[in-house]
Amino acid sequence: MSEPVVEIKNLVKSYRRGGQVVPVLTNITFNIAAGDYVALMGPSGSGKSTLLNLIAGIDKPDSGTLRVGGVDITALGEAELATWRSRHVGFIFQFYNLMPVLTAFENVELPLLLTDLSARQRDEHVTSALAMVGLADRMEHFPSELSGGQQQRVAIARAIIADPTILVADEPTGDLDRVSAEEILNMLDLLNRELGKTIIMVTHDPHSAGKAHTVQHLDKGELRIGNSGAA
């Protein structure tokens, strides 16, 4: 493993519910090496999704430092953070979060609209990405015309299309049957092994976590001792 691509130090996060402050993460400190495949596990309410959101830059901590790819993202303003996300983070959501009125091709193309690529270049990238996830023959299909597993593969293609620094996956197999789930996990494994993608995945499924190299356990907002999963 190489230099850390994610450096987390004394991260604290809480939410306000009515007049009450609810602590979610308490002094989280750990690093993620470039090319690592990390699973964040823990019971419901342990703060694993919150931690993932902070790493992905879609939420801000109350205190602590969080560097991703050498950038202190806690110091970025909203607009800068949005730009940073578009270049450095690939998202894979539990419920795919595809645009229902866009085809598979157009959904994957979305992140590239924020780049300077020409239309022809975007076409080439998208075609290549969809071929990589095995959906070259489904490019013109809308999400409603695809199975759950196919939709998640479109989401993966969208996540990798801009060659991001990290891939964040929040329960990527949570809405899939066992066969489709296995396909997705294999695909993530492929992205990690062959393309060297750094993957951070939240899961409550030990089988899914078993695909990761490193498993970090959270409980009541605190990090328990991590261990490597089966590579």
């Binding site: 879609i58 939420d59 607009a79 949005a82 009125v101």
Partner: protein, 385 residues
């Protein structure tokens, strides 16, 4: 093009909702255009007025007449180029619902003061030659089928009796603002009949029409004419033709104001409907907007999508509403007959309709756009439409 594609597809996502909203906008913009056209029609008389024409009437009320002898005195006032006279006749053609303006005019001079009434010379000659001749406007021809040579009977109300006329000419308007719903006949016919049937009412004129040598001298000439007849039995009030026409409008100003208010209320109501549509739409798609924000799209992109969709729906509805305004206004104008002799959709009304459509679309999108821009990504991703 990508964003346009997304906007159009989103607008068509809920076809029933979008269709009903568009229908509402069509009706609202159409109603707005029609009401504004009615307001314009109310003022057409004053807008078509010439700035070199003035009207002299009895200062007490238009109901009271002026002596025929005033004509020669008015003609001699400095600044007066020509003078004619006319009486409102107010007769009934067949039934009361067939209303159109009827004037007894000095045939030899009246039409020199109204160059916007276009009459073929030979027809004008026949009209002036025949004491019972009548000149009818093109709109009356289209409505009642009058032809040259037709005998027309009017039942007098202000001037009792059955009055027989022969159509000797048909006049057209120089432009679309000219009223071609009027019926003109010889003042001499009226006066000679009054001498026999009601001598005390003979040699009485309803109004004098004055042609000015220069429009700049309107105030001066008006003062001079009224001064000439001050302290007489029939004092005069002389005003520009536009002021004279506006006097009629002011009698019904409350109605005009009410119509204007209703026209804007219609737009306000559809704005509320459209705002509700966009609020529901954005609420349902909050997870999608949160996803776009997560991917790096900023508030500007979201605004483009939301405003774009709102303006597309409102614009489409407005375009149809505007297109329908023309045939509906034409049918309405025809149905109204002489009540609105000049009735057409003006460019200003079109601009107002376009502006109304744009404002509806923009205002409806504003609050939903702000909500989408402000929502925290994590909250948006959790939302269920």
């Amino acid at each position: 093009m990508y964003y346009l594609k997304l906007i159009v597809r989103n607008a068509l996502r809920h076809k029933l909702r979008t269709g009903l909203t568009v229908l509402g906008i069509v009706v609202a913009i159409l109603a707005f255009g029609l009401l504004r056209t009615v307001v314009d029609a109310w003022y057409h008389g004053s807008e078509a007025a010439s700035n070199t024409r003035m009207v002299t009437r009895n200062s007490i009320s238009l109901v009271f007449s002026l002596p025929l002898t005033y004509s020669a005195k008015i003609r001699q006032i400095d600044g007066v180029k020509a003078v004619s006279h006319a009486n409102w006749f107010g007769g009934v053609y067949v039934t009361e619902k067939n209303f159109f303006p009827q004037f007894a005019v000095q045939g030899s001079t009246y039409f020199d003061l109204y160059p916007e009434f276009i009459v073929p010379p030979e027809q004008m000659r026949e009209f002036q030659r025949d004491r019972k001749g009548a000149l009818v406007g093109r709109k009356l021809v289209d409505t009642y089928g009058f032809k040259i040579g037709d005998q027309v009977s009017l039942r007098g109300t202000i001037f009792p009796g059955n009055w027989e006329f022969v159509v000797r000419g048909i006049y057209d308007g120089a432009d679309s603002k000219t009223d071609t719903s009027q019926f003109f006949f010889q003042w001499d016919y009226l006066n000679e009949t009054m001498k026999k049937t009601a001598p005390r009412r003979a040699n009485s004129v309803g109004v004098y029409i004055i042609s000015l040598a220069s429009a700049d001298r309107a105030a001066e000439v008006a003062a001079a004419v009224d001064h000439e007849f001050k302290n007489s039995l029939a004092e005069t009030l002389t005003e520009t033709e536009q002021a004279f026409q506006l006097g009629f409008v002011s009698m019904t100003e409350a109605i005009v104001v009410a119509i204007k208010i209703v026209s804007f209320l219609v737009i306000f109501i559809i704005m509320a409907v459209m705002a509700n549509t966009m609020a529901m739409t954005v609420r349902e798609r909050m997870a999608e907007y949160a996803t776009l924000k997560a991917l790096g799209f900023g508030p500007g992109h979201l605004a483009l999508l939301i405003f774009g969709e709102s303006l597309a729906i409102a614009g489409f509805g407005a375009a149809i509403g505007i297109a329908l305004t023309f045939p509906v206004a034409e049918k309405f104008g025809t149905a109204m007959g002489s009540l609105f002799p000049v009735f057409f959709v003006t460019p200003e009304t079109l601009y107002m309709q376009v502006a109304a459509g744009l404002i509806v679309g923009a205002v409806a999108a504003f609050v939903p756009c702000v909500r989408a821009a402000r929502i925290r990504i994590v909250d948006g991703l959790r939302s269920v439409g």
